[in-house]
Amino acid sequence: MNADLETAPKRDGLRRVAIDPVSRVEGHGKVTLLVDDDGHIHEARLHIVEFRGFEAFIEGRPYWEVPVMVQRLCGICPVSHHLAAAKALDFVVGAVPVTATADKMRRLMHYGQILQSHALHFFHLSSPDLLFGFEAEVGRRNIIGVAEAHPDIARQGVALRRFGQQVIAATAGKRVHGTAAVPGGINRHLAPADRDALLAEAEAMVAWAREAVHLVRRLHEADPALYDRFGHFESPIMSIVRADGAMDLYDGALRMRAADGGIVRDAVPPQFYMDFITEAVKPWSYMKFPYVTDLGAERGWYKVGPLARVQNCDFIPTPLAEAERRAFRDYLGGALQHAPLAYHWARMIELLHAAEVIRDMLPDPDLTAGERMAGGARQPAGVGVIEAPRGTLIHHYAVGEDDLVGWCNLIVSTTHNNQAMNTAVREVARRYLDGKTLTEGLLNHIEVAIRAFDPCLSCATHALGKMPLRLELRDRAGAMLDRIARDA
């Protein structure tokens, strides 16, 4: 068997097996395996197969359109893009810091986003694997199957997601693709009636989120051989943390820990991300491969997202989630957890944190009244960074004196995890699939590893393919709609 599995040394005579599409994830991806006659695996790759080109068509648009446009990168975490863009453009309009009202409205919106996205990912997408087993019958492995077998879990999951969406609607104006964050601030207050309706349910949501943490913890404790080893590999971790080391998903500076837990970079201001991170390109995926520049492409790749954040911060500033964080860290006696399935546990700890933050923030009078906009001297460019549900999200814009975006660069959360997801896929291929007859259930093992990272594959597609093209698209009557003829 080829040790690395990224690229088969010889492709002749190998059979291609595809998992296409990868399901119960957001966006468009597929996995290909190259297998020999004895069932040994020579290559395993996660491909991101769609290209959208957002960075190209944002250039030339007026800057104030951007926070609304970029949300359409992703319907699961639109708020993250909305806010990262607004934060970047705050610099451009000279509004740093923004007003207390703007800061708090945006934070509340963001924690609503974390709550709904984490609930969606765990209950609607991933829980069937964990509750029924990786090889359960295909027809059962979905949220409807969960609702039949575990109605309470499904109902609580649907309610947690609904509540997060209602927080977003109350702060952003709509559940999906709201409009409230604008360069320099926010364009609405929280309505007292919305606040009261949310407050009435907030305590129940905290309780259910806590049950979700305990559910995942029980799963770990019941089968540590699986949960601690499945797809396991070690790597550095990265996220932003607050200046005092607290978890803060809305703002902070970059911190990186080595695989052994030691801090190797700290307090890196996000606007220097370009010196800090380089993105590599591989011919078989539209998703780029970032790494920490001075560590190099081989050693410098890392994990982001809940598993990174829960272990990168020094503490979580809400009591129930902090108690769960301690239990999580104690589980391996203080050593970092690297197993992909531990993402679910860490994600539920953040779900609980988000529920606590929302409950505690709602009564704040700055949300329902106060100055919404700030402004100052124009700047030519700005960088906005935020911890989206899936990890560190970076938006960077340069804006001309004509108010048009001259240049933009986006590094989305899932892209940071590209190498990590590919590595997990190869670990699972090596350990569970090599030399076996590939059944549907075995192939689902690969998807279980990918799902743990909660990839958002439509976010991650903003590059272009260049291939020899000969393609005609015809309508129903046979008339030509589009013809492509281009050489590589």
Partner: protein
């Protein structure tokens, strides 16, 4: 007496952002009611990877590459009623903003001359589906039975629409529920 046959429902995201699927889930608790009436076929919410014979197919997103065309045609061939769900499926939506750009030249430049990137070739593996020069609304490729606008259509609008279809009525989404943003 045998139970009435469940209606089969398939959904797919082509060149969309998944927001329309999020809105489908925004029917909240009605999800359980829906599950009582329909069986899900291919959908990002299930592990069924190929669309089988279905009563209803909901399409999110326009058509941006060769694979989208194949998937869309398979849905049309299998679904009795095909619905363009949301702005992207109806008219291409935001991804169609790239239609006025020369795909090859512009984005090749983006790929190879960006600061903060290794200099590398543009991805060209045969596993990557061929991108189309333009993003197309789905009705340019197949016949579409219903169009539900909105970016995304709200959960209420989707529930009203699907409820009518399930009850065998011609869907009529009340005006206040229809919007285009």
């Amino acid at each position: 007496m045998t139970e009435p046959r469940k209606i089969r429902l398939a959904t797919v995201s082509l060149a969309g952002c998944f927001g329309c699927h999020m809105s489908l889930l925004d029917i909240d608790d009605h999800l359980f009611e829906l599950a009582g009436k329909v069986a899900f076929d291919r959908s990002p919410l299930t592990d069924i990877k190929r669309c089988g014979p279905c009563d209803i197919g909901l399409i999110e997103g326009g058509v941006c590459n060769a694979e989208n065309v194949h998937v869309l045609r398979a849905f049309r061939a299998n679904c009795h009623t095909l619905v363009a769900l949301g702005a992207c499926a109806v008219n291409g939506g935001l991804p169609a903003q790239r239609n006025h750009l020369d795909l090859g030249r512009c984005l090749t430049a983006v790929f190879q001359s960006r600061p903060g990137m290794d200099t590398g070739a543009v991805p060209d593996d045969p596993e990557l589906p061929l991108p189309l020069d333009q993003v197309h609304p789905i009705h340019e490729v197949v016949h579409v039975d219903y169009f539900l606008p909105g970016c995304p259509p709200s959960g209420e609008a989707i529930w009203a629409f699907v409820s009518d279809l399930l009850a065998g009525r011609t869907p009529r989404v009340a005006h206040p529920l229809l919007h285009f943003d």
